[in-house]
């Protein structure tokens, strides 16, 4: 699904150069649920933004879904983001003056779906996150956990192959965090690849695999038993 080799990313400001990523290599298979952990400032968000085509990188190679994305123009990158990738942010990033329906509608509008198609997808997505009855509410009328579920619905509505979640539970209390996590697990079970940055070791352990990032490099992989077992079971059971 995603294959990064020796990616480097340098931020230059007037005073300093920051090597946010150096020799960053990672492969994620289709259908995986990968948790990315690491200390603050280690480059997790930078990795996610590059992987999600929100930012350019300076060196290395990156294949997304088998396609070399290093030479795409802005327009092509927008199309790929729109069709293949769903984003979930720590700060939810809903548009405050659009109601839930219209927020979920945003990526679908740029996709060029028909009104009927959009309507069907919005309803399904909001129902899936348990907010089907509040479509006319504004984000400010919801709790943080509910807002994040709207953001998930928005990421889901376009049926992306890959979901990028940057500390999706970072602003939520543990109960709400668990609900969001369960939602992501459901989505993953239906085949969507998920890459999630998190600080929470308990949540990280529920992923198939942990990638630890330090100083802009992948330092450690941990494959969890539960996930490994599950995959074996899948392989055996067919």
């Amino acid at each position: 699904m995603l294959k990064m080799q020796n990616i480097s990313k340098v931020y230059r400001t007037d005073l300093v150069q920051t090597h946010a990523l150096r020799d960053f290599s990672l492969e994620v298979a289709e259908g995986e649920f990968v948790a990315v952990t690491g200390p603050s400032g280690s480059g997790k968000t930078t990795f996610l933004n590059i992987a999600g085509l929100l930012e350019d990188f300076d060196g290395g190679s990156y294949l997304l879904d088998g396609e070399d994305v290093s030479n795409l123009n802005d327009n092509q990158r927008s199309k790929i983001r729109n069709a293949k990738i769903g984003f979930i942010f720590q700060g939810f990033n809903l548009i405050p003056d659009l109601n839930l329906w219209d927020n979920v509608d945003v990526p679908l509008r740029y996709r060029g779906f028909s009104a009927a198609e959009r309507s069907k997808r919005i309803k399904e997505a909001l129902e899936m996150v348990g907010l089907g009855s509040r479509m006319k509410h504004l984000p400010s009328q919801l709790s943080g956990g509910q807002q994040q579920r709207v953001a998930i619905a928005r990421a889901l509505a376009g049926t992306p192959r890959l979901i990028m979640a940057d500390e999706p539970t970072g602003n939520l209390d543990s109960l709400m965090a668990r609900q969001v996590m369960e939602l992501l697990e459901n989505i993953n079970e239906q085949g969507t690849t998920i890459i999630m940055v998190t600080h929470d070791p308990e949540l990280a352990r529920r992923a198939h695999r942990n990638v630890h990032v330090m100083d802009g490099q992948v330092t450690d992989f941990t494959e969890f038993e539960r996930a490994a077992n599950k995959r074996e079971r899948d392989a055996l059971g067919g």
């Binding site: 968000t45 933004n49 999600g52 929100l54 930012e55 802005d74 327009n75 927008s78 199309k79 983001r81 729109n82 069709a83 984003f87 942010f89 720590q90 700060g91 990033n93 548009i95 405050p96 003056d97 659009l98 945003v106 990526p107 509008r109 740029y110 996709r111 928005r154 376009g158």
Partner: protein
């Protein structure tokens, strides 16, 4: 997608009412000032008889002071009006298809209905050709018969307004009205007719209302009416009696002809030239080469109906509009940058730069449209003031064409103002504002 962007524009205006309001106000003030000046110009520079511009001619012959030309700045032009002698002589030519001299008089109406007090009105004495030549529209009846131009007949054509006043708007053809104590029979009532400028007589204000009634000029010597209008004299001569004035070198009469063919036009020019030569040969002051045949357009130009300062004002008000727009550019930039967060979310979710650019420009156009509506209101107020100041009477100055121009200008101007801010905002990197959360 256009409807979607319009909805977003509305939301954005609601979210930011102060900034949006300021922008609309800036556009409204700019458009208001510009449209006021442009409408005045458009109104002044109209040719209300454009469809006959190549066959109608204002006629002038130079029998003015031998020692001084009528216009100092344009010595080649004859006086603006004719003497009575010249007017009568020209009227004898049978070259033109239509021909008419004309002048203003005043008359006192004594309505039959005793409840209406007698009142004074401006009238025009002329010929039956006047109505055909200028395509004057009739509501009832028509012009008096040709015989009334040769033999005294007490007949009158009324304007629509005066017919409303005297007869409550009913068909008054055949009825009698009393003017200056004499009875006249109505032969026709005009439809509303307000040529602006009043091209056929600009001597007492190019934007004056047309006269309330029309009488055959044939009756002039019988009625000896009170004249109203401009009279210009140069010769020290006796003007004491009606007869002496009519024989004088004073100019006070307008003259128009319709010449349909090239050949007619050439023959008429030759006729004017010959007439002046003949006058010179009998010892009158006359300049044989100084005759004028001016189309309505040329006539309005010669009489400077559109003053130069009016053009300058249009230019200045346009500059003012640009200043207002520059203000708008600043406001738009502030507004758009305040929304960078939303924009980068849209970008992350798949909006292309072009999508964002379009969204912003449609919002600008929408604000421009609202500003344009307010601006039209302001222009309406401005025009009311201008009308009072310049004593423009009659028809409305803001026609459909001007309203359309106002909207197009407002929308295009605000889109132009939005180009730079929209370009800035669509280049906001999609990741930029997401990271700082």
């Amino acid at each position: 997608m256009f409807a979607y962007y319009l909805r977003l524009a509305l939301l954005s205006i609601r979210r930011n009412p102060v900034l949006s309001g300021l922008m609309m106000a800036a556009i409204a003030v700019g458009i208001g000032a510009f449209m006021t000046m442009l409408s005045v110009h458009h109104f002044m520079s109209g040719n209300p008889i454009w469809w006959k511009n190549d066959v109608l001619y204002a006629v002038g012959v130079d029998t003015w002071n031998p020692n001084e030309t009528y216009y100092q700045s344009r010595p080649e032009l004859p006086p603006q009006q004719l003497t009575y002698r010249d007017a009568k002589a020209l009227q004898a030519s049978d070259i033109p298809t239509y021909k008419a001299y004309m002048f203003n008089v005043v008359g006192v109406f004594q309505p039959e209905n005793e409840e209406i007090a007698p009142f004074i009105e401006r009238g025009r004495m002329t010929f039956n050709d006047f109505f055909a030549m200028f395509d004057v529209p009739f509501e009832y009846g028509g012009a008096w018969g040709e015989q009334a131009d040769r033999r005294d007949e007490f007949v009158v054509v009324l304007s629509r307004e005066i017919n409303d006043k005297l007869f409550g708007g009913e068909n008054s053809v055949g009825k009698r009205v009393v003017i200056d104590g004499r009875e006249f029979m109505v032969t026709g009532v005009l439809k509303e007719w307000h040529p602006a400028p009043k091209f056929y007589d600009v001597t007492t204000g190019a934007f004056q209302e047309p006269e309330a009634f029309y009488l055959p000029a044939q009756l002039y010597e019988t009625l000896q009416p009170d004249r109203s209008g401009n009279t210009n004299c140069w010769k020290p001569e006796n003007l004491d009696s009606f007869q002496a004035f009519n024989n004088s070198e004073c100019t006070w009469i307008q003259y128009w002809v319709q010449l349909d063919t090239r050949e007619q036009q050439q023959r008429y020019a030759d006729f004017l030239h010959a007439y002046l030569q003949e006058q010179a040969s009998v010892g009158r002051s006359a300049r044989p080469d100084q005759y004028l045949m001016a189309t309505p357009e040329e006539w309005l130009e010669i009489n400077e109906v559109v003053a130069d300062d009016n053009r300058v004002l249009v230019g200045l008000s346009f500059l003012f509009l640009i200043v207002c727009l520059l203000n708008t550019v600043g406001l738009l930039l502030a507004k758009f940058l305040g929304r960078a967060g939303d924009i980068s979310v849209r970008r992350a979710l798949g909006a292309s730069r072009l999508d964002i650019f379009r969204q912003q420009l449609i919002e600008c156009g929408f604000i421009g449209l609202l500003g344009g509506i307010a601006g039209l209101g302001l222009a309406g107020v401005g025009l009311m003031v201008v009308r009072k100041m310049y004593r423009f009477e009659g028809s409305s100055m803001m026609d459909g064409e001007m309203i359309l121009v106002a909207f197009i200008t407002a929308v295009l101007a605000s889109i132009a103002a939005g180009l730079w801010p929209a370009w800035q905002i669509c280049r906001v990197p999609p990741a930029g504002y997401l990271k700082t959360q």
